[in-house]
């Protein structure tokens, strides 16, 4: 991989090793967890691959940003959050939404702009919302979600709730003023925010080193007084171990934590991007560290994944996605008569 600074290995990464050598029930539980990590990553990837087809068929429109290559981050972080925790994220959020537990059907319907979509079709790919899982979007303003996360955490802090707000952001966001304002504020008030920076090496076509004087984002975050470290974001087990440790620390009053996930997107920034700013060789190099392949290989080596298991997973996932697409196609559109709904609260309808 081409990250230029050494990635500090997370001590929690040893957990996987321990699980492998442990016996009996603990070993089974660990194997199950790792298989479900694999399943979730595969599910996100297949969902998005289907989205590409649907986009080409013009069934999905608008801006669409794919997460393919970065699946280890969402799949690894989300299981470490509880149902009462909150999630704030960006326009590249299909993976986060799926891993958080918003039904694939509701997400797909949203991409189709249908009234059964998780935002009633008003948001589309970039604005997935779900009150039931405390999923606060889906923000298409780079760094625009950071202050929201700080506020959600502030509310928890003021009420003494031991909840965590996970805030996903990209490396590009680290150049915005809101990044600095919010890291400072979160650290100053010791708010329970888990910042998960998905450093996929590019902000649209701008490589990390072309937009940041200091490219070690964890180092920068730590300068605000946060606990911060970098994680190999292509290694789902490393991500999940780091997320577990950080989320626990945040939950029990350790103040905000910042994880820089070093990862990569294989696909272009969005469906409109001709992707002229990087080489095929570079993409191939990262693909050799594919998070799904890597975890599958590891599970196989440990005897936790049989010859047909992956194919079986794939089949089950395909059925789920087929179902979501069928349902989305059949779902009703919002009536135009409802065009102006939800601008203001329906408890107070106004002209």
């Amino acid at each position: 991989m081409t990250t230029k600074k050494t990635v500090k290995t997370d001590p929690g990464g040893a957990a996987g090793e321990a699980a492998r050598t442990a016996g009996g029930a603990a070993r089974d539980a660990a194997a199950k967890e790792r298989r479900s990590l694999l399943h979730e990553m595969l599910r996100i990837r297949r969902f998005e691959e289907r989205c590409v087809e649907l986009y080409s068929a013009a069934e999905i429109r608008g801006f669409m940003h794919l997460y393919i290559g970065e699946e280890a981050v969402a799949a690894g972080v989300m299981p470490e959050l509880g149902p009462e925790d909150a999630v704030v994220t960006t326009y590249r959020e299909h993976g986060h939404a799926l891993a958080r537990g918003i039904p694939a059907e509701a997400i797909m319907a949203e991409m189709f702009g249908r009234s059964t979509g998780c935002s009633r079709g008003r948001g589309g790919s970039m604005h997935l919302f779900d009150a039931a899982t405390r999923f606060y979007g889906g923000n298409a303003i780079v760094a625009g979600g950071l202050p929201l996360a700080v506020g959600l955490a502030l509310a928890d802090r003021m009420r003494g709730a031991d909840r965590v707000t996970a805030c996903f952001l990209g490396d590009g966001a680290a150049a915005e003023g809101e990044f600095h304002e919010c890291l400072n504020l979160a650290a100053l008030w010791r708010l329970p925010v888990l910042f998960v920076c998905e450093n996929n090496q590019y902000a649209m076509g701008t490589a990390l080193a072309r937009e940041h004087a200091e490219t070690d984002l964890a180092l920068r975050a730590s300068s605000y007084g946060l606990v911060a470290w970098a994680v190999d974001g292509m290694d789902a087990l490393a991500v999940s171990a780091a997320a577990r440790r950080a989320a626990e620390a945040v939950r029990w009053g350790g103040g905000p934590h910042f994880l820089e996930m070093r990862t990569y997107r294989y696909r272009a920034h969005s469906m409109y991007d001709p992707d002229r700013y990087r080489t095929k060789a570079e993409i191939e190099e990262w693909r050799r560290h594919d998070p799904i392949d890597a975890l599958a290989a590891r599970l196989r080596a440990d005897g936790d994944l049989g010859g047909d298991d992956l194919a079986a997973m794939d089949k089950e996932i395909a059925a789920e996605i087929d179902g979501a697409v069928k349902a989305a196609r059949k779902a009703p559109l919002e009536p135009v008569a409802d065009l102006t709904r939800f601008v203001y609260s329906e408890r107070a309808v106004r002209p």
């Binding site: 009633r120 929201l148 509310a155």
Partner: protein, 342 residues
């Protein structure tokens, strides 16, 4: 401007039983904090310093630093944090020192506070109150004196109010807090020293309707906030010159209370909009257009506007006074529309 003005309809202060606009705001804050545990005040210097306009003076001692929360100079972060806290069920009041600085938080106000409800298909609301000062009159030059509330009235999803009287300073906050949507309260900087009597039972007021502050039959003077008192002064002079002007205080700038505006114009058949903000693309343009759309055939003269001169507000007093509407300008405009010389 530090000269004490007299609240409309209130006896001159001086008797000292009165209350200032600033104190009325503070009483409103104190009441809200006492009444609802979810309420907290957040902003630059609201605590130790007592608020840059001394509105929150003493509240830190009373309610503690958790609820009277000093923030760093990070407008976007703390306004956005207010939005996040509101999403999570709190009732934050965010103070921004002046409207000019609110531009650093415009992303959060427009892209988050105003959109989240609609974008989430009604799943999330933002019951947030943002207070800020606006307006010229204190020789603070171009980066501290503008009236940009009209810009905010452009944005669906927001509610904009402008308390111009002691009753409204006392009563609008609680109504705003009870509103499920984001409400921006614009306090004209020259009003803080306004003083007068407040009825003992003064409390929450309706913020949906404009108010007729002085009835009249010859012309409707439509205004709000900092120019209300200048307009009332003008109306007093017009009366002595034989023109009965009706003075309308908009109070709510978004949504606009069309019904009250049109009723007034139907009675007087003439309208002058008085607004300290710039004329081009302004709230005064919107009001003028609505009057034309809705009661054109009632009009005996074109709608006139008295607005700020289209320059950044200058520092020296004489230029600053020349840059914003004064009672003389309102009197002249009213005479023009009444005499048909408009």
């Amino acid at each position: 401007m530090t000269t004490t003005r007299t609240a409309p309809g209130a006896p001159a202060a001086g008797a000292n039983g009165g209350i200032t606009y600033r104190e009325a705001m503070r009483a409103a804050l104190r009441e809200a904090l006492a009444k609802d545990e979810r309420v907290f005040l957040m902003g630059e210097d609201v605590g130790r310093y007592g608020g840059c306009f001394a509105v929150s003076l003493g509240l830190l001692e009373e309610f503690g630093p958790e609820r009277i929360r000093d923030t760093p100079l990070s407008e976007s972060a703390f306004v956005g944090a207010g939005i996040g806290a509101a999403l999570a069920g709190m009732r934050p009041i965010v103070e921004i020192m002046t409207v000019n600085f609110s531009l650093l938080a415009l992303d959060q106000i427009l892209n988050n506070a105003a959109t989240l409800s609609h974008m989430s298909g009604g799943q999330f609301g933002v019951p947030l109150v943002i207070r800020m000062t606006t307006g010229a009159g204190r020789q603070l030059a171009a980066q501290h004196s503008h009236s940009l509330e009209g810009w905010y009235t452009h944005i669906p999803g927001l509610r904009i109010v402008a308390p111009a009287t002691l009753e409204d300073a006392r009563g609008m906050l609680w109504t705003a807090l009870a509103d499920p949507d984001p409400v921006l309260i614009f306090e004209h900087g020259s009003l803080y020293t306004l003083s007068g009597e407040l009825p003992p039972g003064a409390g929450a007021v309706d913020i949906d309707r404009a108010a007729v502050r002085r009835p009249g039959s010859d012309v409707s003077l439509i205004t709000y906030g900092g120019t209300l008192h200048k307009t009332l002064e003008a109306a007093g002079r017009l009366a002595s010159e034989g023109v009965e002007a009706e003075v309308l205080d908009l109070r709510s700038l978004r949504p606009l209370d069309d019904a009250t505006i049109m009723d007034s114009v139907r009675r007087t058949h003439r309208a002058v909009v008085v607004d300290e903000a710039w004329r081009s693309g302004s709230l005064s343009a919107e009001i003028s257009a609505r009057v034309t759309e809705q009661v054109f055939y009632e009009l005996d003269a074109p709608v006139a506007r008295v607005c700020g001169v289209e320059i950044p507000i200058p520092y020296p007093r004489h230029l600053e006074e020349a840059a914003v509407p004064q009672p003389d300008d309102v009197v002249a405009a009213a005479h023009r529309v009444v005499s048909g010389d408009a």
